[in-house]
């Protein structure tokens, strides 16, 4: 129900003129009504600070925070009608779980009487699977239990805006999924605009309408999960999003009529111009391959680069495995799905579809070409043949 905008928001801790820390720098973010924004970025990049400024806990050094076009810089936190999950929980140590949960509700003039509130608390506690702990004090809870209380304290309300600061970091996969689903449903049901910090990419990809990738306080990209994955604005985003890490190799680029010729150490290939939108002016580029995008050449010719890799390490992950190897262009990492029979010492011939290749300007690190998803349908080999 709220259209959230950050306009040129900057936060400097300490004295701006003298070793002040610029935690957030000139941030512009626009979150339409009911959208779910995920803030993503390395530790210390300013995610928490951004949330705190939205919440009114920190005053921006510069810029404006707007709710529905109203500048709220001067509105007190408690009048912003926001619910927030704090990264460090900030539970009230003197209150039981049930009191912690009910506390915010009681502050609202929502016409709820004690019974209503108690019912709501019980309901929330059940959802969070902490109903047996309602009478415990926070000091008697495990880490994950505390976090769930912190989460509950926010979602028990129906605020104008939800702010979640890594609300699931301390939960196991099962719970994490359940909780994520709950949050997702809750948010989309009631349509409450939300900003969500997580360092878990799967979570980000699943839950986000929009992802904002931050680095060192600056916005790198704001886009849908697909955009961020397939068309990262720059090298940083490309590297940060997606796991295992993207393979990156130096290459030189030469232009021909139809295509760009790309030459890496020990491999080269042509990139048809129709796959590239950008005007390419440089000849020093970085080529990126997602580990998931590799195919084995013995199975398919894709017109992409081909090179051999000597398997160094195989990391099994459940039914999948991540393979690290040495190749002519450099170290290479490939993810092999399904059941694999690769062991270290083996030599793999790898290839990749030109559509899946990322290209970055080596100097500016801006994206030149992203990963094309739609392409594979038009005449390319069906990519559901993923190989190990």
């Amino acid at each position: 129900m709220t259209h959230l905008e950050l306009d040129g928001v900057t936060k400097i801790f300490g004295d701006p003129n003298k070793d002040g820390v610029v935690a957030v720098n000139d941030l512009d973010i626009d979150v339409p009504d009911g959208d779910f924004l995920v803030l993503l970025g390395p530790s210390g990049c300013g995610k928490t600070t951004t949330l705190r400024m939205i919440g009114g806990l920190e005053e921006p050094s510069e810029g404006e925070v707007r709710f529905d076009d109203t500048v709220v810089n001067d509105v007190k936190a408690r009048n912003r009608d926001i619910a927030m999950v704090f990264q460090d929980f900030a539970l009230y140590p003197h209150m039981t779980v049930s009191e912690n949960l009910g506390f915010g509700l009681r502050r609202e003039d929502n016409g709820m009487d004690d019974d209503d509130i108690e019912a709501r608390v019980t309901e929330t506690a059940e959802m969070l699977e902490i109903e047996s702990l309602l009478n415990n004090k926070p000091a008697q809870l495990s880490g994950g239990q505390k976090q769930r209380v912190a989460l509950g304290r926010a979602i028990i309300r129906e605020p104008r805006l939800f702010l979640f600061d890594e609300p699931l970091a301390n939960l196991d996969a099962q719970l994490r999924k359940t909780m994520r689903t709950e949050i997702d449903e809750l948010q989309s049901e009631v349509g409450i605009t939300s900003a969500y910090v997580t360092h878990n990419q799967e979570e980000a990809m699943t839950i986000a309408d929009k992802i904002a990738v931050l680095d060192a306080g600056e916005l790198q990209q704001l886009g849908t999960p697909d955009q961020v994955f397939n068309e990262p604005a720059n090298l940083f985003v490309a590297q940060f999003v997606g796991s295992p890490d993207m393979n990156l190799f130096d290459a030189t680029l030469t232009e021909t009529a139809d295509a760009y010729g790309i030459e890496m150490d020990g491999a080269s290939f042509d990139l048809p111009k129709r796959l590239v939108d950008a005007e390419i002016t440089t000849d020093e580029v970085l080529v990126g391959f997602r580990p998931q995008d590799f195919y084995q050449t013995r199975r398919r010719a894709l017109d992409g680069p081909e090179f051999d890799a000597d398997v160094r390490v195989v990391e099994p992950v459940g039914t999948e495995a991540v393979v690290h190897g040495d190749s002519a262009p450099g170290d290479v990492t490939a993810k092999v799905g399904g059941f694999h029979d690769i062991s270290s010492g083996e030599r793999l011939s790898l290839t990749i579809a030109p559509e899946h290749v990322y290209l970055f300007d080596a100097e500016t690190e801006e994206l030149l070409k992203g990963r094309l998803v739609a392409e594979h349908a038009d005449g390319q080999a069906s990519p559901d043949e993923v190989e190990a």
């Binding site: 705190r52 919440g55 009114g56 806990l57 007190k76 936190a77 408690r78 009048n79 009608d81 926001i82 619910a83 927030m84 704090f86 460090d88 929980f89 900030a90 539970l91 009230y92 140590p93 003197h94 209150m95 506390f103 915010g104 502050r107 609202e108 004090k137 926070p138 000091a139 008697q140 304290r153």
Partner: protein, 321 residues
């Protein structure tokens, strides 16, 4: 590995300290702590012991040279006098005489029960006043910056240090102008004013350490400053509040000079009341000691009771969120 066969855990002596990990060190430590406790206990308790012993001696024995460390002859005369004078002054002497056939006549008509009640009234009133006003102010002084803060705090602090005797005369005049002479309210206000700055400082120390994140959580939970203060901070501040209250209470409980000159005998609090035992020709130390013991007991019981909450601490001590 273990060199000492008798102690299988000897190998965990890698990072050892003689004082904390050797048997000898343990004895030394225990002895030192024991001695410390003993010395401190002696220092704190001996005067109290002396008071109790004095209360149980006869007037003549108190005067003996050298003093007897233990009463040669127990005498409850002191207590008897206090109780009798109490009964007499509160008008029960006739009743006791007719019921128990005990004749009561006491030089000193001190209504000790009445004094205790008066003192409690004044001390609790002043304690509550100081804690309520002082805590609110200290919260703001701790968490907000504003013009004149340092000056305000300096004034509060300096007023705390100003000897009471130095302002006694203007204080009399003030109380008289306000028409509060011989009222407990006067003392509550004066003591409240004397102790509120004290509470401000004490609570400020607490608030200065108070975790911001809890306050922030409450702001997000839509608390007004007052609600944050009342529902979140005050309960967490319980220990410090109790300590502040005890301080303020005891200062008021103990104050002599204003109580002596602003109240008459009927309204008298404990210190001036006891003073009537401690004068020129009348200092019967056994009576004074007995009276002191009698008046202290209710306070001590109260203190032990409050301290229970105090000592229980806060869910395992941590104030951190």
């Amino acid at each position: 590995m273990a060199t000492d066969n008798t102690d299988p855990t000897a190998e965990f002596r890698r990072n050892q300290s003689w004082l904390y990990d050797s048997k000898a060190g343990g004895y030394v430590r225990k002895t030192a702590v024991g001695l410390l406790i003993l010395i401190i206990a002696a220092f704190v308790l001996f005067p109290l012991y002396w008071m109790i012993v004095t209360a149980l001696k006869s007037t003549a024995e108190i005067q003996q040279i050298p003093p007897t460390l233990f009463p040669e002859q127990f005498s409850l005369e002191g207590f008897r006098l206090v109780v009798e004078s109490s009964l007499e002054s509160s008008g029960y002497d006739g009743f006791v005489e007719s019921t128990f056939g005990v004749e009561i006549s006491s030089a000193i008509n001190i209504d000790i029960l009445g004094m205790i009640v008066n003192s409690l009234k004044v001390a609790i009133g002043a304690g509550v006043l100081a804690v309520v006003l002082g805590t609110g102010a200290s919260y703001v002084l701790s968490r907000r910056e504003f013009r004149g803060k340092t000056v305000l705090m300096s004034l509060l602090l300096a007023s705390l240090m100003f000897p009471g005797t130095a302002i006694m005369v203007p204080e009399w005049e003030l109380i008289s102008t306000l028409g509060l002479f011989n009222t407990h309210l006067a003392l509550i206000l004066i003591y409240g004013a004397m102790t509120a700055p004290f509470v401000v400082w004490l609570m400020k120390g607490f608030f200065d350490d108070f975790p911001d994140s809890i306050v922030e959580a409450s702001r997000i939970d839509q608390c007004t400053s007052f609600e944050t203060f009342w529902y979140v901070i005050v309960p967490m501040a319980r220990n410090s509040l109790i300590a502040s209250f005890i301080f303020a209470f005891l200062l008021a409980w103990n104050e002599l000079v204003f109580a002596l000159t602003l109240l008459d005998n009927q309204n008298s609090t404990v210190p001036p009341g006891l003073l009537t035992f401690v004068q020129g020709f009348n200092t019967q130390w056994n009576v004074v000691a007995a009276a002191s013991i009698i008046v202290s007991v209710p306070v001590l019981i109260g203190l032990a009771y409050i301290q229970r909450y105090f000592v229980q601490g806060l869910t395992g001590g941590a104030i951190k969120g």
